[in-house]
Every structure is written in structure tokens, then in C-alpha cells.
């Protein structure tokens, strides 16, 4: 049986900050197993949308359905446990903890296991080391995360959210401020995890990266969905060009 239900479905999502409507009746859906891009000019509401999806921000109206389940209350911990994790636009790591601990903390261990005598069991540590290897951070496993270069911190943040083996990862500008070697590494990893069935929603301004990797693209403007389509269609769409270049 083929599952045709979208993994994420948002309808009429709205967020106001005082008089400013950051996200305005926004609706779109993300199919399971896709790498969907969320693009749009600065201030079009992309990050606000992501904050609502990942449970960091309450919404004023609209609904979010993740895996067919309505999300009622904003709660990042619950979202992570449901299988949706995110990275931040400016990389956020736990700076005074070492690189390995940055991963171990994200292992979805809970309940009574919290009170155990060790930080993680053997299998979790092995999985974390495997991820560090994939992201070429193994040599830095014992370094403080805060001592890593900015690009390495972005990779580390990405690796950490994979600890929970999420079904969907929201990446907020994964290539911003990262050199091209690391962008290639990041792209490779996204493709690799995508091949295992992981779904991605990527906010990105780097169009070369987006066009090469994502399908479909959701174009946001003034907090509303302007257009949804394949990369080629987006590139030739007059509305999108107007939004980006001004009409």
C-alpha cells in the first residue's frame, strides 16, 4: 500500500507580531521522502514559520498536521520526540560541552533511563561516533563545541539532530557562512539520509544549492505561499521573479 498522505500539512497558518503579520494564512504540505525547499525574500516569514513548526512559537490561527496528527500546543521537546527536529539559522551548539556530548544529549533516551549511571549506552555512543565520522568531526570528538569553526558548528548541529533518527529535519539556511567544501559535505549527507527515507524541509538563499538538491520548492512572500513547483517552473514563474526582484 502506498502512503499518499503528506508528512506535514499546514493550513491557514498565521502569526502576528503586534500589527505586523509575519505569516499570513499560509498553507502547503510536504510529502514524505521529499527534500522540499522553502524560499522567499528576506522578511517573507520563513523563519517564523519554522519556529511554529518546530514548536518554538505559538500560532494565532491555522493548523499543523504532522504524520496525520494535529499539533495543538507548541513544544519543541514533543516535536523532536515525534520525529521532527530542526537546526537554527545561526548555528546553535552547546559551546562548553564537548562535541560527542553535543550528540549524546540529543539521544532520545528518557523515562527512568534518565536516572542511570552513564550518559548513554554503548550503542548510542557508537551511533554518535558513526555520525561524527560521516561529518568528519571524529578527530574533534573531545574538543569543546565552542572551539569549532563556524562551519564545523553547523555540521555538528546537523549531526546532533540526527541522533533522534527523525522522520523530518528542518534546516534553516544550512549553507549560510559555510565554505564550499563543507557545503558539498552537507549536500552529500542530506542526499544520503534522504536515500534512507528521511524528509527534509530546507530554508535556503543559496539558489545553486536549492536548485540542485530540492524538489519541490515552496515560495513564500509576505507570509503567504506564492507558488509551489519544481525548480524549473519556479525559475520561469513571473510571480516569483517579481517577488524577488520587485515589480
Amino acid at each position: 500500500m502506498i502512503d499518499n498522505h503528506p508528512l506535514l500539512e499546514i493550513t491557514g497558518l498565521t502569526k502576528r507580531f503586534g500589527g505586523i503579520v509575519a505569516v499570513n494564512e499560509c498553507s502547503f504540505s510536504v510529502s514524505p521522502g521529499s527534500i522540499t525547499a522553502l524560499i522567499g525574500p528576506n522578511g517573507s516569514g520563513k523563519t517564523t514559520l519554522l519556529n511554529m513548526l518546530s514548536g518554538y512559537l505559538s500560532r494565532d490561527a491555522g493548523s499543523i498536521l504532522f504524520d496525520g496528527r494535529p499539533i495543538r500546543r507548541p513544544d519543541p521537546t514533543a516535536m523532536y520526540r515525534l520525529g521532527m527536529s530542526r537546526t537554527f539559522q545561526r548555528a546553535r551548539v552547546l559551546p562548553d560541552l564537548d562535541v560527542l556530548d553535543n550528540l549524546l544529549v540529543a539521544s532520545p533516551k528518557r523515562g527512568l533511563a534518565v536516572w542511570g549511571m552513564s550518559k548513554a549506552n554503548r550503542a548510542t555512543v557508537d551511533f554518535a561516533m558513526h555520525l561524527l565520522e560521516e561529518f568528519r568531526l571524529v578527530r574533534l570528538a573531545e574538543a569543546k563545541a565552542g572551539e569549532l569553526s563556524y562551519g564545523q558548528q553547523k555540521l555538528l548541529e546537523f549531526a546532533a539532530v540526527l541522533m533522534g533518527q527523525p522522520r523530518m529535519v528542518l534546516l534553516d539556511e544550512p549553507t549560510a557562512g559555510v565554505n564550499h567544501v563543507m557545503v558539498d559535505l552537507m549536500t552529500e549527507r542530506i542526499r544520503e539520509f534522504h536515500a534512507t527515507g528521511m524528509t527534509f524541509l530546507v530554508i535556503e538563499h543559496n539558489m545553486e544549492f536549492v536548485m540542485g538538491l530540492c524538489d519541490p520548492l515552496v515560495v513564500l512572500d509576505h507570509g503567504t505561499t506564492l507558488f509551489v513547483g519544481a525548480p524549473a517552473d519556479v525559475q520561469s514563474n513571473q510571480l516569483v521573479l517579481d517577488a524577488y526582484l520587485g515589480d
Binding site: P76, D96, D98, S118, K119
Partner: protein, 346 residues
């Protein structure tokens, strides 16, 4: 957390230090020196307990004294109303008081954790002030300003201090053990994550209220145990001393900062420097207020030369030296490989 000592080395160091401390009264130290020892261990225990919430979880609490005072009053009240015998028997009450105050702290924590950062500091110091007023005014229970009397323990004068010294040592050792456990465990990792970036931690699936309340209640429990031993030792409890919002509240945080917050041994090292200095100055300059100036000077000097605390500075230096040695070894290995490659090609 990066550590200087491997776990078995840490255990050995801990057992050694506690053993040496336990044997200290047998050196024939005079009772006033053992008295300083009691206060040093009390600050070490209070500083380590504070470290759970302030150092590991990053919530700078000024409320430790509130729980210290509750522990002190709890002991005195038990004496008044229930009667727990005398001699060594009342010491058995100490862990019970710790648990009870730990539980009492949970609803208070619920209020305090509505805030973060600076407001949290203010909420926790208010707690101390409120309890001090309650202790002053609920005269039917607390005896008001004169406080409550605890019967003097029937220990022989020559060894009177020693029993309290050992009792305080046990409280300190238990606190240290709890800290050591926390630092190695998943719970501690969650506390550190809260300290580093609480919102990010939530996004990594960390149920942040678990480490926060565990740290708050644990900190309260150990502080209360220290307070209970202290009350029995002084055989009197009154509001200004039990809920001392200035001297004691600051002293606890000073020893932690001085030794290095967030480290295992920092509060102990801080207490070892600061408490004898404070007591010594109080004895020698006690008639005037100069002893407070001298006390402050010790703190200023350490902050000047070891601004991140004694243990933190030493640990960082050791780790850096070790890493430099490792990378030097790797470099020479790589050079050897390169030479080998050339030789093969040649």
C-alpha cells in the same frame, strides 16, 4: 564535560581527600581549629550543593540559604515537639530533614522556574527574605527573634567539636558524591545542556524540567542537611543567622566562584581558602569591621590572578598541555610516515 582525571583516578582522589579530612581531628588540633574545620566543611557542602543548581544547571540561585535555614529550624522544631534523644541520635534526623526540605523545595522551584536569568536571582533571594520575615513573625512556631534553643549535646568538652566535624564531613561527602554522579550521568548532561542553551536543549528532545527540578531539590536537600548539623552544633537557631541573606548567601556563592563554578572540587577548594581566611581574620581583627575588608581582599586577589576560579584555571592549563603533547606526538608520527613514504618511493 572534559575531565582532567579518569574516573578511577577521581574516585581514588575523592576517597583520599575524605579520608585525610576524617583523620584531621586526630592530629591533636585544638578545638578552635576543629571549629574552623566545621565551618570550612559547611561551606564546602553548601558550595557544592549550590553548584548543582548554579554551576551545573546555570540557574544562579541565591536561595540556598533559605533551605539551609529550613533545615536548621526543622532540627530545632523536632527537638521541641517530638524529642529525639540526644548525643548521636539526632544526627540520624539529618538525612530525613534533607529529604523533607527537598520535597518542600519543589513547589517553590515551580514558582522560581517561571523565570530565568536575572529575575530568577531576584525570586530566589526574595525567598530568603520572606522566610526570614516568617521566622521573625510566626513567633508561636519559631520563637520569633530570640529563636529556638536546641539542647546541648552531651559530648565531652575535649572532643565536643569532633562529632559535628564528622557529621558535617558526611554531609559534604554525600554532596560531593551526588555531584560526581550527576557529572557522569545522563541527568548531568541534561543539566549542562540547560546551562548552555535551554531552548536549544528543548529542541533536542531534552525534557528540561527534569534536570531543573532535580538540581533545585537536590541543592535544597543538601543545604538543609548542612543547616541541621549547624543548628545542632550551635544549639540555637534564630532568624538572622539561619536566613542570613547577606553574609552566608554571598559566602556560599563566593566559595563556588573562587574555586571554579561547574567543577567538582571547586567549591571545596574555594571553601578551603576562603573559610579559614574569614575565620582567622574574624579572630584576629574581630573587634572591628576590618576583618570583612581582609576577607574581601582574599577574594579580589584570587579573581585578579585566577579569574575563572582556581580549579577551572588549573584544569584548563592541564588539558591544554596534554592536548599539545598529543598533537606534537601526532605531528612527529606524521613526519615519520612522510619519511617512510619517500623512502618507499626512492
Amino acid at each position: 564535560m572534559r575531565r582532567v582525571l579518569a574516573p578511577h583516578q577521581g574516585l581514588l582522589a575523592g576517597v583520599t581527600v575524605i579520608t585525610v579530612l576524617a583523620l584531621f581531628p586526630f592530629t591533636g588540633a585544638e578545638s578552635w581549629i576543629v571549629n574552623i574545620g566545621i565551618f570550612t566543611l559547611m561551606y564546602a557542602a553548601l558550595g557544592s550543593a549550590w553548584n548543582l543548581i548554579g554551576g551545573y544547571t546555570g540557574y544562579i540561585s541565591l536561595g540556598s540559604v533559605a533551605f539551609f535555614g529550613l533545615g536548621a529550624y526543622a532540627l530545632a522544631l523536632t527537638f521541641q515537639h517530638i524529642g529525639v534523644g540526644n548525643g548521636l541520635l539526632p544526627f540520624l534526623l539529618v538525612p530525613v530533614i534533607g529529604i523533607v526540605v527537598g520535597v518542600i523545595s519543589l513547589p517553590l522551584g515551580f514558582i522560581a522556574f517561571r523565570t530565568r536569568g536575572l529575575p530568577f536571582i531576584i525570586v530566589t533571594i526574595s525567598l530568603v527574605i520572606i522566610l526570614q520575615y516568617l521566622a521573625l513573625n510566626l513567633t508561636a512556631i519559631t520563637g520569633g527573634a530570640p529563636g529556638l534553643q536546641v539542647p546541648l549535646a552531651p559530648f565531652p568538652p575535649g572532643t565536643y567539636e569532633m562529632y559535628f566535624y564528622w557529621a558535617m564531613l558526611v554531609v559534604f561527602a554525600l554532596t560531593l558524591l551526588a555531584c560526581a554522579y550527576v557529572r557522569r550521568s545522563r541527568l548531568g548532561l541534561m543539566m549542562f545542556a540547560v546551562r548552555e542553551d535551554e531552548d536549544k536543549a528543548r529542541g533536542l528532545g531534552v525534557a528540561t524540567s527534569v534536570p531543573k527540578f532535580a538540581a533545585f531539590a537536590g541543592s535544597a536537600a543538601f543545604s538543609a542537611m548542612a543547616g541541621a548539623v549547624w543548628a545542632y552544633y550551635l544549639s540555637t537557631v534564630y532568624p538572622q543567622f539561619a536566613f542570613d541573606g547577606e553574609f552566608l548567601a554571598m559566602g556560599i556563592i563566593l566559595v563556588a566562584y573562587l574555586g571554579g563554578i561547574g567543577t567538582l572540587w571547586g567549591p571545596f577548594v574555594g571553601a578551603l581558602i576562603l573559610t579559614p581566611a574569614q575565620q582567622y581574620f574574624a579572630y584576629s581583627l574581630g573587634a572591628n569591621q576590618f576583618y570583612l575588608v581582609a576577607y574581601a581582599a582574599v577574594f579580589v586577589l584570587v579573581m585578579l590572578f585566577l579569574p575563572r576560579g582556581v580549579v577551572t584555571t588549573i584544569a584548563d592549563k592541564t588539558l591544554r598541555r596534554r592536548r599539545r603533547r598529543i598533537s606534537a606526538a601526532e605531528d612527529s608520527e606524521r613526519q615519520a610516515d612522510a619519511v617512510g613514504d619517500v623512502a618507499t618511493v626512492g
